[in-house]
Subunit: 168 residues, 2 copies
C-alpha cells in the first residue's frame, strides 16, 4: 500500500491543472500543489524539482512567486545549505485578501471612467453601477475574512501546528 504517495501526487497534479484554468501559471500551480499535498512538513527546492521533473531555474521562479504571494514560506534549515519551504498557515485567507486588491482596481477604474464620461450620461450611470458594486464588495470582504480568522484561532480544535503571527 505504498502507492498512496503516487495517488497523492496524481491528485496534486490534477489540482494544479485546475488552478491553471483560473489564471495561475502552470509551474507556480504545480509547485504550490506539491507543497500542499506532501506528507512532509517541508520540502526543498531539489525535492520538488525532482518530483515534478523540472529544472532548478523553473523552481526558483515559482518559489519566488509563491513566497511573494504569501502562500509559502522559507524555513531556516539548520546545518544544511538547502532552503526548506512549507505551506504557510493561513495561506488561503492571505490569498483571498490579495485578490481583494482587484476589487480596489475595479472601483478606481470605474471612478476614472465616471470622471471622463460625466456623471449624468449613459456611460456614467453604467460605470456608477459598477463602482457601487465593487465598493460594496470592498467594504464587506475584509470583515468576512476577519470573521474566519477569528473563528479559526478561537476554536481550540486541533492545534496541529502553532499559529504563527503576521497573518497579513
Amino acid at each position: 500500500m505504498l502507492r498512496v504517495t503516487d495517488d497523492l501526487i496524481d491528485a496534486a497534479e490534477h489540482f494544479a491543472l485546475t488552478l491553471t484554468q483560473y489564471g495561475l501559471q502552470r509551474m507556480t500551480a504545480r509547485v504550490m500543489a506539491a507543497l500542499l499535498f506532501t506528507q512532509q512538513d517541508t520540502m526543498t527546492a531539489g525535492e520538488i524539482g525532482a518530483q515534478l521533473g523540472v529544472s532548478s531555474g523553473a523552481m526558483s521562479g515559482a518559489l519566488k512567486n509563491l513566497t511573494e504571494l504569501g502562500m509559502i514560506e522559507r524555513v531556516p534549515a539548520p546545518g544544511s545549505r538547502r532552503e526548506h519551504f512549507r505551506f504557510r498557515d493561513g495561506a488561503w485567507a492571505t490569498l483571498m485578501s490579495k485578490q481583494n486588491m482587484a476589487l480596489t482596481l475595479m472601483t478606481e477604474a470605474a471612478d476614472t471612467g465616471i470622471e471622463v464620461a460625466g456623471q449624468d450620461t449613459l456611460a456614467g450611470r453604467r460605470l456608477a453601477d459598477m463602482r457601487d458594486f465593487y465598493a460594496y464588495m470592498l467594504s464587506e470582504m475584509p470583515a468576512l475574512i476577519d470573521r474566519w480568522s477569528a473563528r479559526r484561532t478561537g476554536e481550540s480544535g486541533s492545534p496541529a501546528r502553532e499559529v504563527r503571527g503576521s497573518q497579513m
Copy 2:
C-alpha cells in the same frame, strides 16, 4: 470639446489592459470595456470592431464569451439584420457569482486530497484547513451578493433602466 469620446476610449483601453492581468483574455477584455464605456445604449459587432480595429472573427469569439459569461446580452434589433449588444444590468453580481464556482472546485479538490492522504496525516490536516476555508467562503458569498441585489432593487434611486429578471 468633442474629445470626450476619445478620452473615454482611452480610459476603456486602459481598463481592458488591467483586466487582462487578472486572467481575462485580451480581446474579451477590450470588447467588454468598449460596451462598458460607450455612451450609446447598445453597439453592433461592426461598431465595436471598427473602434478597436480588429477583425470580425475576433469579435465573434469575444462576444460569444461575454454572452456566456452573462456580462452582455444580445438585443433584438428591429428592422436590421445586425445584432446589437449591450452591457447587462446586474452583470457584476453575475460575474462574482460565476467566480464562486472556483470556490466549489477548491473545496472539492481539498476533499479528494483528504480522501487519498488520510484524515490524520500531515497532508490531510493541511487540506482540511483548505477545505474549511473554502467551505466557509462558499457559505457566505451568495448571501453577500444577495444582500447587494436586494439593496439595489430595493432603493428607489435612479431607475435608469428597468431591472430585468433572471439575475443568474
